[in-house]
Amino acid sequence: MEPNPHSGVDTPMHTVELQQVRKSYDKFVAVKDLSLRIAQGSIFGLLGPNGAGKTSTIRMMIGITVPDSGQVQMFGEPFRRDHLKRIGYLPETSGLYKRMKVSEQLILFGQLRGLSAIDAASRAKKWCERMEIADWMDKKTEELSKGMQQKMQFIATLLHEPEFLIMDEPFSGLDPVNATLLKDVLLELNKEGRTILFSTHRMDQVEKLCSSICLINRGEAVLQGTLKEIKASYGRSNVQIEYEGADDFLHENGLVQSFNNYGNYVEVRLSPGADSQKLLHMVAQHSRVNKFELVEPSLEDIFIDVVGKADA
């Protein structure tokens, strides 16, 4: 992953390329020399615990703030403000004018992105029907439920048909039905060739949707690459065990590096070089084993592992 600012012809095009970007507020360094590349047409996950620097990174990406040092390349060129017309940004917390009518507000957002009022109106109508809030278009925004406002905000980011979508916690506040609706739309947009950036700390969503990720902690990239590569590098080093009886084996330091108790089963991460058969033998001595399965670590485990190590 060597950054190459002159790429374009021979290497695959990158929608975004950050090179050693740094942002500090006073003495606090929010983003520490972060480099990452988001391939065109991919779904990219920007992960990290709360306060890791995800939002700061996104803000620099789209020119809301300017990095102290480093470069932001957008669509293969140094970032310019008119790139914004090709980008849609859904911020984490909904930002809408409360007293404006839904339709008026959507038209305003469309116009800010360079659409004519007529185009913006017809697209808004189409999208509201698709997102099932067409009945609410004449209502004031504050009358909408949180989930509906989230869908409205989502529409506002799509009206100008951006090539690059930035979704900061897009599913927050949505029930499973609406979350699925949103996910389907996003996958559809991705199929059309649009690049999507997810910023989240919800690992399960990332695991389902993203092809590449960058995990950041305390402003630094601690893990990045394709999801496949990352999981493979961790190997099948996890064991899911369903058992009845004593749990002494969980404290066997030579074999168990860490574990996560889910109630119905325990997921154990083996110590490096440990033999899973030894563990099975040990569990079987004291308890009744219903299930013993070697699995790839979930992204959540990797996340906890990496972030936990860094914080230790």
Binding site: D26, L84, P91, T93, S94, G95, L112
Partner: protein, 429 residues
Amino acid sequence: MHNIFLFARREYLETVRKKSFIVMTILLPAMMFGFTVLPSMIASKKSGEMQKVVIATSDAQFGEDVREQFTNLPAEDNKTPKHRTNSDTSTRSFDVQIDTNVTPQEEEALTQKVNSHEIDGYLWAPPGALAQRKLSYRSRNSGDLDTVGTLSGSVRRALIHQSLSKHGASSQEIDDVLKPVDVDAKKIENGKVTESGGMGTFFSVILLMVLLYVTILMYSMSVMRSVLEEKNSRIFEVLLSAATPKELMAGKIAGAAAVGLTQILIWTLLATPLAAQAIMIGGEKFRLNLSIGNMIFFGVFFILGFVLYSALAAALGASVNSEQEAQQFQFLIMMPMIVSVIFMTPVILQPHSTMATALSLIPFCTPLLMYIRILVETPPAWQIALSLVLLIGTIYAMLAICSRIYRVGILMYGKRPTLPEIVKWLKYA
């Protein structure tokens, strides 16, 4: 530019559609009407009742003279003659009795009569007091200065009448001597005597000042609140992914200024029939001095003053997190306005003094004080030009500083920034 227009239009429509705008548009003129015209209306209505007054004097002829002066002739003291004439003939009416008994017993009896509401008051003028020219009017309401003033004028004229007739002057001659003199203040503008001046000017100055003060203050505060609201609703994150902070701030200020101008326009249209009404009720003193030139200057000073103060208000709104926090700092914005209002009267009275000139050149006071000077007595053109240059220069600097504070502040949540932190914001790229 397109974005500024979009934000300005949004801001304008949202504010104009609010109920508070409609309420304010009606309420403020109503309040001003209430504070100025209504009291004099009420005062004149109240005195429509017959007031019973007794003049207690041993000199029946003197009493007769006072009664004649008091009930028939206009009194001129402390009032403009026209106003007195107007309200006296139409509304004031007195039933004046003469009592030639000035014994202490009668004094006691009259006092009891006042107490029992049989009469409203009595003028106690025994010979000794009359010689010293120290009489007293005794009534339940010692604050009825109008009646006391009228009485004292009447007594004085009655005395002049008496002594002139002793010297053989005819009644006609005496009336000619006592005829009130009407001195009208007229303003000389561009070498010509104009119709405006005196109370008319004073009243227009106060009216326009209140309008300027209230609208600038009200709408710059509304800019602050709307910045705060947008900050708290986190809408800036979305907006900033489409527009620059400068466009946002410019749009907001332009939109609010347009609202202010709309309101002033509505008031001006309302004021025309209202002012006519006021003249009917209150007489000449309510004649407004609203020349085209004055209104153009009003617009110029409103816009400049408004932009200056609302830029400050926008920066304030961006650097705090709640309305409560904002209120602690509002006085910083209001202070120069309040200072301007405090110095309003001295500036009206002496528009050419060094103090008035100096104050009106301070950019934060210019919108109010230079405008007063233009209304009262047009200052030299170079002073107006200098004040405008200074004001526009300050606005430019303030916009540059405030937009920097605004740009950083709108994305800062949580802790309120300290002054050194805000200074640091100014240095951010």
